[in-house]
Chain length 163, copies 2
DNA sequence: CATATACGTCAGTCTTGTTGACATATTGCC
DNA sequence: GGCAATATGTCAACAAGACTGACGTATATG
């Protein structure tokens, strides 16, 4: 039973294969978020704070509306965690120069430090998985993950870095 | 940019590669859960109900404590959704024969139907991604996903089906 | 018989998402 | 210049789903 036995019922195998993928997503995502969650809880923050810190770190001087497009949550939901992060000095808001209605977000030094700390566990987890699986597997992983996400989200991974 | 360009700064590329993986997990997981969530909301249920229905369907006659080990939530959290699912006729509880303290869980016909409906969108999403990426990519995907999850969870995917 | 286990339940709290309504500053257009 | 649209903020109420802590009951096991 270590090898799924090649049987007379390919439909069953397909079903099993698909269910395993579904479960892998569940387990991998949960374990993947576990470590940062623990650190966050210790700071009185939640996973939502991590996401904001992460994407502001990833896209310095991002506008609020751009951040909303990435996170796909309501501005009210974002507002709660964002204003908390600004109040506690992890993020600063700069008024936009071209459009002065915009509040462009940027991590403070304190924010950069906490981002590094939070993301480090995840980075190491991925690095280990990548190293152990090998370069070819990584290509496969990326291909499947891109296929799983909605088409619009895929755009973030081919060009990347053109603004 | 389809191939990561071999540059003068391999550390930057590595960092970029790892961050892309982190973001792929975020986007893929969110999009992956989106469709069932919509169906569930329509039924007055949430994602937690889906998880319970899914794993009870996957492991018929599973005990409550075994289910708790898979989900890694508290019995109080499980209780809320489980008793709701029992009350509304999606799951039945059979008293264990060997250990009569156990409540062994099983989907009703109604439960099977809703499970099929909920998981169908996810199955199709995975099937499409697998088909488009190819068999080799699937192997890579599995290898990386297994590497990302905590070691204890990996055990569910090599043997699988020995109880 | 006593203790441990499997399960259920009541009560309160927190995070994070939602909707709806309304306010303010700024931009862009006629 | 005036006015509609846009970017953002904020108040209020609500729901899902996780948590802790405490307590109760049925059954198993030594």
């Amino acid at each position: 039973m270590t090898e799924l036995k090649p049987g007379p019922n390919p439909l069953f195998l397909r079903e099993e294969e698909l269910r395993q993928a579904i479960e892998m997503l569940f387990f991998a995502y949960r374990d993947f978020t576990g470590e940062p969650d623990a650190i966050l809880a210790h700071l009185g923050f939640g996973r939502a704070h991590h996401r904001v810190i992460y994407f502001v770190g990833r896209h310095p001087m991002i506008s609020v509306s751009e951040l909303l497009l990435i996170l796909k949550i309501t501005k009210q939901s974002l507002s709660r965690v964002l204003s908390q992060l600004v109040r506690e000095g992890f993020i600063v808001q700069h008024q936009g120069t071209e459009d002065r209605r915009q509040r462009l977000l940027k991590l403070t030094d304190k924010g950069v430090e906490i981002e590094r700390q939070l993301t480090e566990a995840q980075r190491q987890r991925i690095a280990r998985a990548y190293r152990e699986a090998g370069a070819e597997a990584v290509q496969g992983f990326r291909a499947v993950m891109l296929g799983i996400m909605d088409a619009p989200d895929r755009g973030r991974f081919d060009r990347e870095r053109d603004g």
